[in-house]
Amino acid sequence: MNHTSEEELFAYREGEMKGREAIAAHLHECTECRAEFARIEEVFQALNTMPVPDPGEEYGTKVWRQIADRLPERRVSRWQGLFVPRRLLALGAAAALLALAFWVGRISKPTTGGGDIADAGKVRERVLVVAVGEHLGKSEMVLMELSNAQPADSGKKLINISTEQKRAENLVEENRLYRQTAVSSGDNAMVSTLDELERVLLDVANSPDEVTPAQFETIQKRIAAQGILLKVRVVQQELRAESEGRKTAPAQDNLTPKARNKA
């Protein structure tokens, strides 16, 4: 076989399959071509000697500072803003429950005369009561975990609250949906509780994922100062009683939001 050309050796190095075996066999036998191949390889090795200065770990932050002011605000509709994966998950769960509530209301069979509308409303409200009750239960859990944690004993410089933070983020989205529903149904007491809950959840959601013991204590104090845990528990109890009351005395159902407003 003739000597291998520079281009063929380069293609061989690049992993090209055409004539690969023949070139490999030739390289095995031919000192001259092997030396030529080694010289090509030296070029690639020499390329690696060219240093690239390390811009540092904070370089990305520096770039952000340099360009942030030059990034125009994106104009998006309110609906577009909702189509963000994180929100979609939270909203999906809440919206599914709301949809279920309305669907159950629609398919409820009429019993007598004007009773069908009243029955559909009752079923719809029952599903909503269960959904809001679950939401409050989940919120209570997050806030309780934060309130009961004892960072002083942990001996750590930073406390990781990323799990609670993520859960709070999702709950904020759900909370908004339920609050809007409560607003449209005129349940002012529920609106007020969900409103306060939202503020506390937002505080947690917007905290860094790792906080100092002092920051953690501030979060705990904020939860305690609002008395939100107690309010959430009271509403939960009311909803539970309401739900049980529906099973035993359905005729009084439609009075419940008003009664709660009074309370």
Partner: protein
């Protein structure tokens, strides 16, 4: 530790999530992408330009363009690769523009642009220093830097993308706006020129290695 800023946890948020949030109007979410991919883009830009000042400008411009074109970003691609390509495109345009400006300023006795591409090594300060001198790795690095500067913008882009970043020939072709065969030839031409520029050193070492293998 994951860095948190403005409610965003850079360690916990995925590129896809950051893109979706940015498109949803949360400008701050773009910061995650900038912080995550800047160093990678910087390395490409530095190798293409050979200096920090130009490299930093390319990085900034790449992320600005990325933000403006984010709507066009195909979700199935990798954001890092996408912004890398934007940087490579911008860098090659910039190098070409600079070369054209330099050509215009140079005296008429200089070769035309096409001729420059055939023999850029004529621009090297010292085309054939002794092997002893080149044996020093710092000098070799300096020599390599000069040799890279002497390549055409297309050749430099091709060799940087291929050798350092392991890009596929098709990706290089997309940046060079050519076909795969032409892109492959461009890489080969770049290697040929670098080899010529480093000939004394490479031959000295390569021959020694070949002899060593033989014995």
């Amino acid at each position: 530790m994951a860095e948190a800023f403005g409610g965003y946890d850079a360690g916990g948020i995925t590129d896809a999530d950051a893109i979706a949030r940015t498109l949803g109007g949360e400008r701050e979410a773009y910061r995650v992408l900038v912080e995550r991919h800047s160093n990678y883009v910087y390395r490409l830009a530095y190798r293409m330009t050979g200096n920090s000042h130009d490299a930093e400008e390319i990085v900034q411009e790449a992320f600005l363009r990325g933000y403006q074109k984010l709507q066009q970003f195909a979700g199935n691609a990798n954001f890092g690769t996408w912004v890398y390509r934007i940087a490579a495109n911008y860098a090659i345009d910039r190098l070409r523009q600079r070369k054209n400006d330099e050509s215009r300023r140079e005296s008429p006795s200089k070769p035309a642009e096409g001729e420059l591409e055939v023999d850029p090594l004529s621009r090297l300060k010292d085309p054939a220093p002794s092997p002893e001198r080149l044996a020093n790795s710092a000098q070799l690095a300096e020599k390599m830097k000069e040799a890279l500067q002497a390549l055409t913008p297309a050749e430099r882009t091709a060799i940087v993308m291929r050798h350092w970043d392991g890009c596929a020939i098709e990706e290089i072709a997309a940046v060079l706006k050519s076909n795969s065969s032409a892109a492959k030839n461009t890489v080969f031409r770049a290697v040929q020129k670098l080899r010529l520029a480093l000939k004394p050193f490479a031959e000295h070492r390569g021959a020694a290695k070949a002899v060593g293998n033989e014995s």
